[in-house]
């Protein structure tokens, strides 16, 4: 059974068809990549999967259950976690506070009990902090637990964000461009981390990515979107050599000079790793 | 799509206005119609200033009423010593200076702060202004002269309309038209609007966003001042903070009803609120409401507009 499945999901914003008939699957313990030029509708697909948008048509199934109409926080409760393109953290808090906040659903006491300060809440709070520390250690963040998030470098922030997602005890993690802002060495380490997380924690991962070597290395399956539609899918090698995929990146780059990244990707597409 | 919405807004407005007039004529509330339109014009004046500042900097200016009160106060003081016309000009000048000072001392430092912070800050300015008035003056009401003394120039539907009131209406109409032209046609006006949406681009074009801000507040203060000196003499007297206590909330509601981004909307909203209040005060059906029925009805109008059509009658959606 797949952990995540979208069936013919479509969404329209005014006259823009952001997603049309997008169907994808993430199997248990799979790492799935979602690639495509900028503006292809990848983040839109994520937003639909996680509940920030309701699709105009199509269904989203999570662990076999139809979650299309569930609000975001309920999907988190079911085991879905995600990161954001511009880093979704509580910037005014410290790293540890973020990790503890992310365990909102794990806390062993009710909101009311928390407000009244029963002894149980003190014990539970200590437990939350211990777990926060453990997750931080896992991601190599042990030194900065007491640092306010707002001052940290971008690459570190991305790892903090992944840590907070892990703190929600997810079964499926949706990463939106986790390697953005990272150089090749850091991206390689990220790949290591993702593989290790999959192995140690048994999570499934879906990631939007532009960094092709990373995708080729860690993904079991890849989907390519363009103009909101599924362009190609398959094993990483198949997809990256797929003629239409190559054209999509080429064409985009010619029209849209912002996609400097696409140029780099074209080079790595044509090189062999 | 936009055009359709605008048409829709205009159609709804026309329908509401026609409906209101019909209801009032039918129920014998003709006087409310006239009185309401006149007081509404004053609200519209204050609302114009509110919309102006909102359009250009996204701020809800709680001190707008005080621009008027300060002007009236100055008029009152000067009227003893100098001819009325000069006193009037002096009053408006003081209002403009006040506006510029507020912009420099309060708005500039908080340029990038959340809009809510600025709201609280302007509320603080209003309170300070009122406190100073109480401090230096008295807490009692004092009468102030009208610009034009004739009280019964026209009698419409059994209501005496003084020259002053006609002046108010005419001034409002003229100013609303001028502002509309200013903002839609002149470079300066367009720049003011552009500055709030794209401050960086404006700076790059060589226009000082800061200068624009000062100018905007000066204009808004002038509008507030005019509202004060024209409207308050009709109300019989003025007390500290009169424009804030009596005019500001209705003016805000008027701006919301008209659409916070629409200058003609402010005028229209003002008239609607004025009529609602007049009806609330005189219609027998509201007699048994505890306290002041106008307050309650204005509140209900606010809620209805914000939940049913948040952009107001003539404002832009989103």
């Amino acid at each position: 059974m797949s952990v995540l499945e979208t069936r013919s999901v479509s969404i329209r914003f005014g006259g823009v068809f952001a997603n049309t008939d997008v169907s994808l699957k993430v199997g248990e313990w799979e790492i799935v990549g979602i690639i495509g030029p900028n503006g292809a509708g990848k983040t839109t697909a994520f937003n639909i999967v996680t509940g920030f948008y309701r699709p105009n048509s199509g269904r989203v199934l999570f662990k076999g259950r139809d979650v299309t109409d569930l609000p975001v926080h309920q999907r988190t409760a079911l085991g879905m976690g995600r990161t954001f393109q511009n880093v979704g953290l509580v910037k005014g808090s410290t790293v540890r506070e973020n990790l503890v906040s992310a365990q909102y659903l794990e806390s062993d006491y009710s909101v009311l009990a928390g407000m009244l300060g029963s002894p149980r809440t003190f014990v539970a709070e200590r437990g939350l902090r211990r777990k926060a520390d453990a997750v931080a250690e896992l991601m190599g963040l042990g030194d900065i637990l007491d640092t306010q998030v707002v001052g940290l470098p971008y690459g570190v922030l991305k790892r903090v964000e992944i840590a907070t997602v892990l703190a929600t005890d997810p079964d499926l993690v949706l990463l939106d461009e986790p390697s953005s802002g990272m150089g090749p060495e850091e991206a390689h380490e990220l790949g290591d981390t993702l593989l290790e997380l999959r192995r140690e924690l048994g999570i499934s991962i879906a990631m939007i990515e532009h960094h092709v070597p990373l995708v080729v290395r860690v993904c079991d399956y890849v989907y390519c979107l363009n103009f909101g539609q599924m362009l190609a899918e398959g094993l990483p090698d198949e997809v990256r050599n797929h003629p239409q995929v190559v054209t999509a990146y080429l064409g985009e780059e010619a029209e849209n000079p912002e996609i400097a990244g696409a140029e780099k990707q074209l080079e790595s597409l044509l090189d062999s790793e | 799509m936009e055009r359709l919405r605008e048409r829709q807004g205009e159609a709804i407005t026309a329908a509401i206005l026609a409906g209101l007039v019909l209801v009032l004529l039918v129920t014998g509330e003709k006087q409310s119609l006239v009185i309401g339109t006149i007081t509404g014009a004053a609200y519209g004046f204050v609302a114009l200033g509110l919309v102006l500042i909102y359009k250009s900097s996204g701020v809800f200016n709680f001190a707008q009423g005080e621009f008027g009160t300060v002007a009236v106060y100055t008029l009152y003081l000067l009227d003893f010593d100098v001819p009325y016309g000069i006193a009037l000009l002096g009053a408006l000048a003081v209002a403009v200076v006040f506006g510029v000072v507020v912009e420099r001392v309060v708005v500039r430092p908080l340029f990038d702060a959340p809009r809510v912070t600025l709201l609280v800050a302007t509320a603080g300015v209003a309170l300070l202004s009122i406190a100073v008035q109480v401090w230096f003056g008295e807490a009692t009401a004092r009468p102030v002269d009208r610009a034009l003394p004739t009280l019964d120039r026209v009698t419409l539907l059994d209501v005496q309309i003084s020259d002053q009131r006609i002046l108010l209406l005419v001034a409002l109409g003229v100013l609303a038209a001028l502002l509309a032209v200013f903002f839609n046609k002149t470079n300066l006006g367009l720049a003011i609007l552009g500055a709030s949406q794209e401050p960086t681009a404006t700076e790059l074009m060589g226009i000082s966003v800061k200068r624009l801000s000062t100018l905007t507040w000066a204009i808004a203060a002038l509008l507030g001042g005019i509202a004060g000196v024209l409207a308050v003499p009709e109300t019989g007297g003025f007390a500290p903070g009169i424009l804030t206590s009596s005019f500001l909330i209705p003016a805000f509601t008027a701006a919301v009803i008209g659409g916070m981004t629409s200058l003609p909307g402010a005028f229209l909203g003002g008239v609607i609120i004025g009529v609602i209040e007049a009806v609330a005060a005189s219609a027998p059906v509201f007699e048994d409401l505890p306290g002041s029925p106008g307050t309650l009805l204005v509140f209900i109008a606010l809620i209805i507009v914000l939940t049913a059509r948040p952009q107001g009658l003539l404002g832009k959606a989103g």
Binding site: V90, D143, P153 | A113, L289, P290
Partner: protein, 381 residues
């Protein structure tokens, strides 16, 4: 393969900000403990504070004690507004209505229904929480600046319509609200108010230290992220409103019985601004600051009376008439507000952080200014 776990550097210590971010050198993270002299000094300070709050007022006469009780109650009200303004980030310009409703409810319950003070207070808390819940529901649909207008209008309706209803409030005459039996003397009532303040402080503290508080801070800054943490943003917002309203209703009930009388004129827009000013000047999200700020504003008139030197100082402004005791707060308040907003955004709370830190056994650090305030994404009005 297991390099990720063994890494001991967060992304490389040659990265700018990494060393600064951790604050101290790795491994040299010793906790500061004060010397015996330091402990003694702190002990003396705590005792002095306790004396000021618990003992000193008893030496005063009845009327002064009423002022002190009012200061304590204003502390409760400030804390209630701080929940909305500081924790949720919602502006309320009608908070006097929340408080007034608690006051009239309690007075009504005790005088008209002949129930006990405790029932009155309980009712005040419940009604305060309930109407806050309704307003909270409105806030979910109407954003930021417009909601401020709604609260303002709501406050006016409360003052001019609701509080004029004869059956509930004695019409314009006002409603008596006797002191509870067993607490008739002023000093006992003062202690009662202190006890309630302690309860409010406790609940506020526990709330912010547990999941609800963290959820509020997250959703105030970034509601999308809060949702992904599993937080039901709507429910938490409503909860915060209820807590704020409950505290306000409590404050109102206590005020009513402190003055032994409630009248509609008290609850004007002016009072709403006073509440906002005392909370903002006190310092958002700082309990100590808010309580001090609120107490200060409650006591300005009293202080001017007690210390004529202050009054003389205020009167010495050249060219201006005397600044009477009634008018002084009206003038001082907004000036302090504007100074706070433009120059010292953290208010009193931010300024006393070094002192509070010292009292709690940390080193006295003049540069401790608290967490850097992140610019909250502007609410689309």
């Amino acid at each position: 393969m297991a390099t990720t776990v063994e890494r001991d550097r967060p992304g490389g210590d040659d990265r700018p900000g990494a060393a600064a971010a951790s604050g101290t050198e790795p491994g040299v993270r010793a906790r500061f403990t004060p010397s015996p002299l330091g402990w003694a000094a702190r002990g003396v300070a705590w005792v002095a504070l306790a004396w000021l709050v618990l003992v000193f007022p008893l030496s005063r006469e009845g009327f002064e004690l009423q002022r002190f009780s009012q200061a304590v109650i204003y502390g409760i009200i400030g804390l209630s507004l701080n929940v909305l303004l500081g924790y949720v980030g919602q502006i309320s310009l009608g908070h006097q209505a929340f408080v007034g409703i608690g006051a009239f409810t309690s007075a009504y319950i005790v005088t008209e229904q002949n129930l006990s003070f405790w029932a009155g207070v309980g009712a005040g808390v419940a009604v305060g929480g309930l109407q806050a819940l309704v307003l909270g529901g409105v806030s979910l649909r109407i954003t930021g600046l417009y909601f401020a207008l709604v609260t303002l209008s709501y406050g006016l309706v409360a003052e001019q319509n609701v509080f004029q209803i004869e059956e509930l409030t004695g019409g314009g005459q006002g409603q008596p609200a006797p002191k509870p039996s067993g607490f008739e003397s002023d000093w006992r009532y003062y202690y009662l108010c202190l006890a309630f303040l302690a309860i409010v402080l406790w609940v506020d503290w526990r709330m912010m230290r547990t999941k609800a508080g963290r959820a509020l801070l997250a959703l105030r800054e970034n509601p999308r992220v809060a949702s992904t943490f599993g937080i039901n943003v709507k429910v938490l917002t409503l909860l915060a409103f209820v807590v704020s309203g409950a505290f306000a209703g409590l404050g109102g009930a206590l005020l009513a019985h402190n003055d032994t009388f409630v009248s509609p004129e008290t609850w004007s827009f002016n009072l709403a601004l006073v509440f906002v000013i005392m909370t903002v000047v006190g310092g958002l999200r700082s309990r100590a600051g808010v309580v001090i700020g609120s107490a200060f504003f409650a006591l300005i008139g009293y202080l001017l009376q007690k210390f004529p030197a202050l009054q003389d100082g205020l009167n010495a402004i050249p060219g201006a008439p005397d600044l009477s005791r009634e008018i002084a707060p009206l003038v001082i308040g907004p000036i302090l507000l504007l100074v706070t907003l433009t120059l010292f955004p953290g208010g009193i709370g931010q300024q006393i952080r070094p002192i509070v830190g010292w009292l709690r056994g940390r080193r006295f650090d003049l540069r401790d200014r608290g967490p850097k305030e992140v610019q909250i994404t502007d609410v689309r009005a």
